[in-house]
Every structure is written in structure tokens, then in C-alpha cells.
Symmetry: C2
Subunit: 233 residues, 2 copies
DNA sequence: CTGATGCTATGGTCTGACCATACTGTGGTC
DNA sequence: GACCACAGTATGGTCAGACCATAGCATCAG
């Protein structure tokens, strides 16, 4: 289950074996999101392992956003395959930020990279921009920095969604979740949000007009305003 | 432990409580990579839960690349805090690709985005390029597409490392791991690798000369050659 | 036909046991 | 005193079996 390269010759643990078997079954049977996995007790018997080991494997799959477990009985109960990488990415970023093994700077830089790319892509695909417009209106109405950031996050995540790339959109959502604290600080530091709103409208206009270069430029200007100390790129 | 937003009012499971406690302890005590967590039995007693629940929490943390468990006794035994997000990202991508909830196109596009950014950054930071040069030499010596891709991966990952952003470098490694199969196919399809090598040398030169625009351009040209069907960006 | 009620399969949790591992300390030997 | 063999022990890994809460399902009474 772990990545391809691993130096130590460590013996494969039972739950790792379960993971491999489940992954193999997913690939061979062509299982998709929405399909059900066998019940824990059943899977344990099939693989000749204890239920504990199956449970640990399930926990891993759940952490990776691949399965969702529901108690009870019926079609929706049991371990169902899903596709929710967001929580996994968010947890990953938050924990590694907490461990100080990632600098905020690195996370913010990553966000800059994603956002510029997504804006250009969104301008090319001419998406539905109603969510973007609504988010801008929400920011206009916002009565507190927290509320402003809430709608700001919605705006930027919608922009990433509009790029049409689900991986990048998921990454963007996770980055925003991890950076919410810093975003609020930035808004408080700025005080006046009218400049940010001007930027947002410029980004929206560029997307509407299908001008990727202008969209990239607008996003760059926006982020330079929001994080002036990090603009040196 | 799960991300901030979660609609269902689902009762907090015990292992999630353990995760929260451990995370709190990491934050409050300022624990860093290399520090040890209490033993499973000890932690279970401290938190008033069973060892099973502690183990499930450990499995999650291990999946996220935050802890590493070692059996035996001594200073290196037990659950040690680490910082290895690579395997987590790789597993995440591979599983979601297997579930067909992510298209190869989306992953490859993400790679393009990262690579262009990293090349420009590397050109600005003037890193040690010996690894890059060695990777190019390795590709010259390669006797099979698999071997070529091996060194090609090393080259592109080294480029990402050279950007100085560990998050992006980790993401790049995971992307390459997930895409190894497609990379080999691309090399086989091309047949002749001399063009790719010309590109690699151009990228290396641009980084050496500290020219970020040329580096971006070189990477773009390289990827357009490697994935001609995806060049429409 | 409808509603109430017991049944049952599911995940969630706990307990207690045993194993393999790898360090630690002890004691004997040279 | 230095060194080595060996028992002790704390660690994670695994298993078996039990009990609980949940939630759909089947049955039966009206």
C-alpha cells in the first residue's frame, strides 16, 4: 500500500495485505464510486485474517477518501466506495503544517501557482460564473473578516472548480481550509477590502471575456495585494 | 480529524477523538518530526479508550505520513513523528485513478502546471544541478524505456526539489509515481528519445543561466513533445 | 392496507491474550 | 576491566470473542 520505494525490508503487515487485496479487487472488478465492499466480518473470513486487520485497512481507505463506512443495515450500509480526496488532503496539509514540516510560505506559494493556472483555464472554458458573482456579492455583504473570508474562499474555490480539473479543485479546497487562519489575518491586516473586491471583479470580467492572460494577470495582482510580503515571485 | 465542514451530524468515533487529542498534543507541546509519541497501551490508558481505538488512530496518522511505528524496544521504537507526505499523496492519487474518479488527463495537466512553476523557480534559486546532469547521463545510458523513464523521473523530481518548495516537490514525486505507466507508454510511442534529451539539456541550461522564462518555455516545449495529444493549453 | 414490533446485519468498541522484535541489564568469562 | 552470552522487558502486530447502537427489513396485528 505504501508508495513504490521503501528501503526497509520490513515484513508486510496484515492490514497492508488486506489493502493490496482490496485494491486488486477494485481494479479487477472495475469497481466505481457507489459500489459496496463486502462487510468487515465477511472480508475477514474471505482473506483469512482477523476483523481487526480488516478494520485497520478500512481506516486507511477511509483516510484516503476512498471508502465511507455506514452502520446499520440496507443498501447504504457497510463500506461504500466514494471519491472524496478533499478531507485527506486537508488533513495532510494541516498536520504537516502543525508539525512545522511545511512552512506557511510553501503552502501559500502552492496556492499562488494553482490559482494562476486555474484562472487561465477557467477563462478558456467559459464556465458558469453565477457562483463567482454570488460569492462577490456575499463579500460585499460581509460584516466581519471571518465572513468575508468565507465568501472569498467560495470565490477562489469556485474558480478552481471552473478550471474543470477535479484534482486541482480538490487541492485548492484543501489549501484554503488549511490557510483559513492566515487568510483572516491578511484581511484584518489590510483593513479595507474594497481593493480585494476590485480584484475579484477584474478576475470575473477576465473569465467572462475568455481572456486567460488577463485572468492570470488579475490573479497575480490580487495575490500580490493580499500577501504583499510574498509577492517576490 | 475530518476536514472542517461535514454535513452529517454523525457521532464522533473514538479513534477520531484520539486523533484530535494527539493533534492537540502535537500543537501544544510543539512536537516535531523525530519526537516520540507515548506507547499505544500507555496512550490508551491516558485517554481512557481501548488500545484498538488508539491503533486505528495510529493507522490514520501513519497513512497521512505523520508517524512511523517501529516494533521492539529502545529510543527508536514506538510511534515516532515523521514527515513523509509522499506515500500518502501517492496512494491517494493511485487509488483515485484506479477508481476512475480522476482522469489521467487531470493528473497530467496538474503535472504540467507544477513542472512549469518549478522550472521557473529553480532558475531563480540557482540550485545544485549535479543531480539533474547525472539524470540526463543516466537517460543517455538507458537500455530500455523503463530505465529511461526511471532517470527521467529522477530528472523531473530533482527539478521540483530545486524549486525549494517541499510541498510541491512531494506532489511531483507522487504524480510521477502514479503516472509511471503512462510515461513508459509515451516513451514507447515516441520511439526516439533524442528529442526528449535535447529538451532536458535545454531545461538544464536555462536553470544554469538563471533564466526563468526560458526554463518555463523549455519545459512547455518538452511536455508538448512528450504528450502531443494534450498540448492544447 | 397500515402501523407497530421484533429481527438481523452492519460498523464501533472493548477486553484480554499471544507473538515477534529489539533494546537493556545482568552476570559470567577471559 | 573488557567482553560476550543470555534472560528480561517494553514495544507494536495479530487474533478471538464479546457486547453495543444503529437502521433497514420482515412479520404480524388491526
Amino acid at each position: 500500500m505504501t508508495g513504490t520505494g521503501w528501503q526497509p525490508v520490513r515484513k508486510t503487515r496484515t492490514f497492508e495485505d488486506v489493502l493490496a487485496q482490496v485494491e486488486r479487487r477494485i481494479a479487477e472488478d472495475g469497481l466505481m464510486a457507489g459500489d459496496r465492499l463486502p462487510a468487515e466480518r465477511q472480508l475477514a473470513e474471505q482473506l483469512g485474517v482477523s476483523r481487526s486487520s480488516v478494520r485497520e485497512a478500512m481506516r486507511v481507505l477511509e483516510t484516503l477518501g476512498v471508502v465511507s463506512s455506514q452502520v446499520g443495515r440496507g443498501p447504504d450500509a457497510g463500506a461504500v466506495l466514494v471519491s472524496k480526496p478533499d478531507a485527506a488532503l486537508t488533513d495532510l496539509l494541516r498536520l504537516h503544517l502543525g508539525l512545522a514540516s511545511l512552512e506557511p510560505r510553501e503552502v501559500i506559494d502552492t496556492r499562488l501557482m494553482i490559482e494562476r493556472w486555474a484562472a487561465a483555464r477557467a477563462a478558456l472554458t467559459r464556465p458558469d460564473v453565477s457562483v463567482l458573482a454570488e460569492a462577490i456579492a456575499g463579500m460585499d455583504r460581509a460584516a466581519s473578516p471571518e465572513e468575508f473570508v468565507e465568501h472569498d474562499t467560495a470565490f477562489h474555490c469556485a474558480l478552481a472548480e471552473a478550471s474543470g480539473n477535479r484534482l486541482i479543485a480538490a487541492f485548492m479546497r484543501s489549501l484554503r481550509d488549511s490557510l483559513r487562519r492566515y487568510a483572516v489575518e491578511a484581511v484584518v491586516r489590510l483593513g479595507d477590502t474594497s481593493g480585494l473586491q476590485t480584484d475579484h471583479r477584474r478576475i470575473l470580467r477576465a473569465v467572462l471575456e475568455g481572456d486567460p492572460d488577463e485572468a492570470t494577470e488579475a490573479v497575480t495582482a490580487h495575490l500580490a495585494r493580499a500577501y504583499p510580503d510574498l509577492c517576490g515571485e
